[in-house]
């Protein structure tokens, strides 16, 4: 949609690679404005996001219920490929969304569950309580959020779950260096 007609592409060739450049096709959407310009698109977007916040609790409940449904399917039919993928995607979505929706501890618990699904050599050998505790913790954090005294408890709960999950993963991956490296690598996202 950016209206500028893209210029000719230049290809500079080297022995094992080509470097391709073209005039910036999006240059026309870049506006030079004075320092005194008061427009604040980021502030405006933050306000709009805050305007959505009344829906976050409902959205989070839907996400947590989707996770529980995926877990129920596993309890019923075992870790089929589809069941495993759905459990991972549901947990992964919570990991990514929960902090935006105001449930950072649920996000941390979901991240711990994702690590189990990704790095356990055999999901059928994972103690079923370990997965169940993660699901229950996420449900509890979402349901109990309105109580002011639960934020610290939720944080402590998710940290404890992560500790138990990591201990398990380090043990079962002791002969799998590539997984050990991934488990021990720091996250690029700052901690809550």
């Amino acid at each position: 949609m950016a209206k500028e007609k893209p210029g000719t592409i230049q290809v500079k060739s080297f022995a094992d690679h080509h470097v391709i450049t073209q005039p910036n096709p999006l240059r026309k959407v870049l506006l030079r404005v004075p320092e005194s310009d008061l427009d604040d698109p980021v502030g405006r977007a933050e306000k709009a996001l805050a305007g959505l916040s009344s829906e976050f609790k409902n959205w989070m409940t839907i996400e947590a219920d989707r996770l529980s449904a995926a877990h129920e399917a596993i309890l019923r039919d075992g870790f089929t490929i589809d069941n495993r993928e759905e459990l991972f995607r549901a947990a992964h979505d919570i990991k990514g969304d929960a902090a935006t929706f105001g449930f950072p501890s649920a996000g941390a618990a979901a991240e711990s569950l994702c690590r189990i699904i990704e790095h356990a050599p055999d999901l059928d050998q994972v103690p079923s309580e370990l997965i169940t505790h993660h699901i229950n913790a996420i449900q509890a954090i979402v349901r109990e959020r309105t109580k002011l005294d639960t934020a610290m408890m939720a944080s402590a709960l998710s940290k404890q779950l992560r500790g138990v999950a990591d201990e398990f993963l380090l043990k079962v991956n002791r002969d799998r260096p590539e997984h050990l490296e991934a488990i021990l690598a720091p996250s690029i996202v700052p901690a809550e």
Binding site: T8, Q10, S13, V29, R44, E46, H92, T100, G107
Partner: protein
């Protein structure tokens, strides 16, 4: 100081989660964008990419059918009829450094780890608009230059080699792509 005229930008959002799509749409519209198309899986996104010719793609990683990584690889086909050069911002719950490397090697332009923030998204968009990187084509890679810093002393793996050849003028693939729509 520079600002983006979002009004002139066309976005394609690809995320299987309807709540995240709503968040993204809200942020983009608040920035001033009017055109933001949405797909809930990689296959639909690829179709929409050819149809709408977006200026910027924002995609999740983990999705059914084919994921955001595969979407990036499909877009970055130098011989394709479509535009292989559009900036791709990967917005994902994956937060491990190795994932950033994998995304980069698939041709992703910018990586934004969730949780999303208005500031983080704005900065990534500003970066792809204001600081486009040249594209590199090798036997195994086609995408934005993966090196953000120039270091002539680099002697590590995958060091580019070879003397310079002549500059060849070619018709714009982007022009071709747009004229085919």
């Amino acid at each position: 100081m520079y600002r983006i005229d979002f009004n002139k930008l066309r976005f394609l959002i690809c995320d299987d989660n309807p709540h995240m799509r709503r968040i993204l749409r809200t942020l983009l519209h608040s920035f001033g964008a009017r055109e933001a198309y949405e797909a809930e899986d990689g296959a639909t996104a690829l179709e929409m990419y050819s149809h709408y010719v977006p200026d910027i793609v924002i995609t999740d990683w983990a999705m059914p059918i084919f994921d955001g990584l595969e979407l990036a690889q499909m877009i970055r086909q130098p011989e394709s009829k479509g535009n292989p050069y559009a900036p791709i911002i990967m917005l994902t719950g994956h937060s491990e450094k190795r994932r950033v490397t994998v995304a980069r090697d698939a041709g992703v332009t910018e990586f934004l780890a969730k949780p999303i923030s208005a500031k983080g998204l704005y900065q990534r968009i500003l970066n792809v608009v204001a600081n486009p990187r040249p594209f590199i084509k090798t036997k195994t890679y086609f995408g934005p230059d993966r090196r953000r810093n120039t270091n002539n002393a680099y002697i590590g793996p995958e060091r580019r080699v070879g003397g310079e050849m002549e500059v060849m003028q070619q018709p714009s693939l982007l022009d071709k792509a747009r004229s085919n729509v």
